[in-house]
């Protein structure tokens, strides 16, 4: 029950913060839409070289891939951004003083942030289809089934970055580097199962594209593997975060920006 009070507070104040930082959110939306327009222009310039069916699949893949990238990068960045912001404003210590453990507060904030970002994406996907003049249906049920393990995996990686943020505080350049890493992880051939499948995020992102954009199906065993895979990365991320926290407490550098 105590955890519930904390979690609902994170939902309430997460939404209040979104409202108070509305300008930044609107700027982010404009940014995404401009990107979609440029992608659309780029792909349509290829129109003469490939068939309309192939172009359609490519557009679907690009739209799904782009929004998957947004979901992944926001999921990863949320923990580290929260820590950096807390260290800058001075609220990180209070997060660390909660009896639940900082990781639960940060995880709750990340869940709220991820859901808000998802809602924004769900609004922007039809707008993107409109911009691209290319319509395709998305299985919303399957989207949520595949989104959960993707989030788990992203949050795990986010906690690893969070450990770096606790120790080094300014990790912006490293996070920028992570964007390239995400792109690489999204395109490695991780289906069917091979060694690449063990990398974080890759299996989940590849499956997302295969099912939602291309229309292929996956077995329930593979979905189970994705959940296990995501959960393992989340646990690993939290463990590494705890090690980072212990190191920062030993060095006395927690909260100093």
């Amino acid at each position: 029950m105590k955890f519930l009070w904390m979690f609902t507070s994170e939902i309430k104040y997460g939404l209040i913060m979104q409202k108070r930082y509305l300008f930044d959110i609107l700027a982010g939306i404009v940014n995404i839409l401009l990107f979609v327009i440029f992608i659309q222009l780029g792909i349509h310039s290829l129109q003469g070289d490939i068939s309309s069916a192939a172009l359609g699949t490519k557009l679907s893949s690009v739209i799904i891939g782009f929004f998957t990238f947004i979901v992944i990068s926001s999921g990863i960045m949320l923990v580290a951004n929260n820590i950096t912001e807390g260290a800058t404003t001075g609220t990180l210590e209070q997060t660390m003083l909660t009896p639940f453990g900082a990781e639960y507060v940060l995880l709750s904030r990340t869940i709220v942030g991820s859901v808000v970002n998802l809602l924004i994406c769900l609004i922007l996907i039809p707008i993107s289809m409109l911009i691209c003049r290319h319509w395709f249906s998305i299985d919303i049920g399957m989207l949520f089934v595949l989104l959960v393990p993707l989030w788990l995996s992203c949050w795990g990686v986010g906690f690893i970055l969070g450990a770096f943020a606790l120790i080094f505080k300014r990790v912006q350049s490293f996070m920028n580097l992570t964007q390239f890493l995400i792109l690489s992880l999204m395109v490695v051939p991780s289906y069917p199962f091979n060694l690449y499948s063990l990398l974080p995020i890759s299996s989940e992102a590849t499956t997302m594209n295969r099912v939602l954009a291309v229309g292929n199906s996956v077995t329930s065993e593979w979905v189970l593997f994705l959940y296990l895979h995501g959960l393992i990365y989340l646990i690993l991320g939290i463990l590494i975060f705890k090690l980072g926290e212990r190191y920062a407490c030993n060095k006395g550098i927690l909260g100093q920006y």
């Binding site: 029950m1 009070w5 913060m17 609220t91 210590e93 003083l97 639940f100 407490c249 927690l254």
Partner: protein, 247 residues
């Protein structure tokens, strides 16, 4: 009762060892206000941070009513700390929202904290700022919000780093009354401060730090009677004591 045994902290920076706090023992009873004083860099804030688990001690143990700091969850649920005053609150939230976030982060239910929030908002004269985002408030009012957030937790141990910093004289006096009021609720209160008037009026015991050493633990009256030059002022006595570094 808060028992501190053999507590010390040594930081290793590159190949250098810095003894920030040298081993000391201290027992603080319920209903006691203790002030950590000393020059900048003496080890006061490191001690406070060790008490709230933000810095891991090199040696020693901290025990609150038979509950050691290693039982982090239970220990922290009994503790409230203002560490960097105005920097410890959410600037984009208003005072009420800040207090609610602090209470909920400790897992408190609304029926437990709502009355308390109202009480401390009134007590700290924050009523007219209740719905204004903290970034628009003065530094003194932000400091009041930070303290109100901690008081609303109803914690057994209060750790206050410079509670009167940035407060006007009237509010400083009000803060002394508030801390005395909290003391009467049997709370253990530890403050770090350079405000000698605050110490004289509010504090039961002074723990003085210098270069990481705890070099005396006495009541303000004892310090004045032993080191005072007859002007009956704690600041004069403290300056003399710190030169002699012993009591």
């Amino acid at each position: 009762m808060l028992e501190i045994t053999n507590l010390s902290k040594t930081f290793k920076i590159k190949s250098r060892e810095i003894k920030a706090v040298k081993p000391y023992d201290l027992t603080i009873n319920k209903g006691e206000v203790v002030a950590f004083i000393g020059p900048n860099g003496a080890g006061k804030t490191t001690s406070i941070k060790m008490l709230c688990g933000l810095v891991t001690p090199t040696t020693g143990n901290i025990c609150l009513c038979d509950m050691t700091i290693s039982k982090r969850s239970k220990y922290l649920s009994q503790l409230g700390a203002v560490l960097e005053g105005a920097r410890n609150i959410y600037w984009r939230l208003n005072p009420f929202e800040n207090m609610e976030v602090f209470c909920r982060m400790r897992g408190l239910a609304p029926k437990v904290y709502l009355d308390r929030i109202d009480h401390y908002i009134k007590l700290l004269d924050l009523e007219k700022y209740k719905t204004i985002e903290c970034r628009y408030l003065s530094r003194g009012n932000q400091q009041k919000v930070a303290i109100a957030c901690i008081l609303a937790l109803n914690a057994e141990v209060l750790l206050l780093d410079e509670p009167t910093l940035g407060l006007d004289i009237e509010m400083s006096h009000r803060m002394m009354e508030i801390i005395s009021g909290e003391k009467s609720k049997d709370r253990i209160i530890i403050v770090t401060t350079h405000d000698m008037e605050f110490i004289e009026q509010t504090v039961d015991r002074v723990v003085a730090f210098k270069d990481g050493n705890v070099f005396f633990k006495s009541t303000p009256t004892e310090i004045i009677s032993k080191f005072g030059n007859g002007d009956n002022r704690l600041s004069t006595a403290y300056l003399k004591a710190i030169k002699e570094e012993t009591l």
